[in-house]
């Protein structure tokens, strides 16, 4: 990392530290949503389909433990992405005019976004662990992290393309549709429809459900699908950020 990138990153983190409410909310929002939803859910029996086709009998309470962390991470990471982009639009163009390379300015923003996402993922995993123990923590955590990366990048793209209000509405709409309903085994017959795979959260969500309830399941395809979404959207977010902060007018 160049000296200027390190300086921009330090400034970006200092900017966050000046707003301690952000830090508190990045912890409080997922912690409240996850703990409240799991704690109040009844232990109603529920048969679901795991990745690979195996059927398993679990409870609605455990299912909430398996999927609520992903929904909370997605929504918070998406909002952080939206407002990271807004900060870049306001401040980072000035850095570029003052002599910074666009890549140096956006690296700092992306590190802040990644750190915020990592914090939300860590909080979500810790709170989930208080109520529910997945069969395989490793796969479960990978799914959680991929949800954060995918929706953080989607938020960044939405923040570049539309107003804050529209981006916030759109992220709510997308997260609720994708992770809240379409990929959620709590509803329907317990197995997402085939077309659910078209949504960005499908892969990570199935990884989390598999990691939560299966000793072993076919991970490679879901991992490849999720990684493709994460890499593609991150690359798109980087390209848009570079274009936005590099514009001199």
């Amino acid at each position: 990392m160049s000296g200027r990138t390190a300086a921009a990153t330090a400034m970006a983190f200092r900017d966050q530290l000046r707003r301690p409410l952000v830090l508190i909310l990045l912890i409080a929002v997922p912690a409240y949503v996850i703990s409240r939803s799991i704690a109040t859910t009844e232990g109603i029996p529920r048969e679901i389909g795991l990745p690979g086709g195996e059927q398993v009998l679990t409870t609605m309470k455990d299912l909430h433990g398996a999927v609520m962390g992903g929904t909370a991470v997605a929504f918070v990471a998406a909002l952080v992405g939206v407002f990271v982009m807004q900060s870049a639009l306001r401040g980072d163009r000035r850095l570029v005019v003052a002599g910074f390379e666009p890549g140096e300015a956006i690296t700092a923003r992306l590190i802040v976004l990644a750190a915020s996402t990592a914090l939300v993922v860590a909080v979500s995993a810790l709170v989930t662990a208080l109520y529910f123990t997945p069969s395989g923590w490793g796969v479960f955590l990978v799914g959680l992290l991929l949800v954060g990366l995918i929706y953080g990048s989607l938020g960044t793209l939405a923040g570049a393309a539309m107003s804050n209000l529209a981006a916030t509405y759109l992220m709510l709409f997308l997260v609720m549709t994708d992770l809240g309903i379409v990929s959620n085994p709590m509803f329907g017959d317990g197995t997402p429809e085939g077309w659910a795979a078209l949504f960005p959260g499908y892969g990570p969500n199935r990884l989390m459900v598999g990691g939560a309830f299966a000793e072993s399941f076919p991970v490679a395809g879901l991992l490849a699908l999720s990684a493709a979404w994460a890499v593609g959207l991150t690359a798109a977010a980087v390209a848009v950020l570079r274009r936005v902060v590099g514009r001199r007018s």
Partner: protein, 238 residues
């Protein structure tokens, strides 16, 4: 009156200048009612509530109006603070600016509520149409107050939008639709409005106490929003 209508109209046009905002204000209530309502019955049962499907469909219309209006009021206050101060200093005065903002928020809230109500009516019918329409409007009014209050207390857009989400989640998970009672249920801002909407969806009349409670909280929400917009519009020196 003409000047006031002009100011309030310009605040509405401010939102209309971003067509995507309007599209989403219309589309999301439809989405909430049509798609989300179909799974809310199962969701409520899992959380210990006892919503029948029709009542679940009704409550989804209230929630759509609530979240959209809360977020709208927050961003309306947050992003217009400087412009409103200039308008007030230029002779309009903070009260008239605040009244114009409230009027614009209520017009947009009524639009969202009307879309949610019409979707509800087309999807599953409404047993008590006036009751349901009023209850959805009450949800909107309460969240206009909450959004404006958050907007005047919190300057950061990320912080503010996360607090709107947190308040909404607290309200939804503790409301009568999702719990079997006790704890926070008695203190959530939309408790009475939710009871009204659930009753209207299920074809039952509501007791007068629910109407009085919901109207009082909605009036409180509008009063809070008025004070919040006034505080935001007045110049630092006055």
């Amino acid at each position: 009156m003409t000047a006031f209508a002009e100011v309030a109209g310009s605040f509405v046009r401010e939102q209309a200048r971003t067509p995507l905002n309007l599209v989403l204000l219309v589309f999301i209530p439809i989405f909430f009612v049509v798609i989300f309502a179909s799974v809310l019955g199962e969701f409520a049962e899992a959380l210990g509530g006892d919503l029948a499907e029709q009542a679940a469909t009704s409550i989804s219309a209230g929630w759509a109006a609530a979240f959209l209006c809360g977020t709208l009021a927050f961003f309306q206050l947050n992003s217009a603070r400087d412009a409103d101060r200039r308008l007030a200093s230029a002779g309009l005065g903070p009260w008239r600016v605040a009244t114009g903002r409230i009027a614009a928020a209520l017009v947009l809230g009524a639009l969202v509520s009307a879309v949610a109500y019409l979707t509800l009516w087309l999807r599953s019918g409404v047993e008590h149409p006036p009751h349901a329409a009023l209850a959805i409007l009450i949800f909107a009014a309460i969240y206009i107050g909450l959004g404006a209050l958050i907007g005047v207390l919190v300057r950061g857009q990320l912080e503010g939008s996360l607090i709107v989400v947190l308040v909404f989640a607290l309200d939804v998970f503790s409301g009568p639709a999702m719990t079997s009672g006790g704890g926070l249920t008695s203190f959530t801002p939309t408790r009475d409005a939710a009871e009204l909407l659930i009753a209207a969806g299920g074809g039952r009349d509501s007791p007068a106490s629910d109407w009085i409670g919901a109207a009082a909280v909605a009036a409180g929400g509008i009063a809070i929003a008025m004070v919040a917009f006034w505080l935001s519009a007045r110049s630092r020196g006055s």
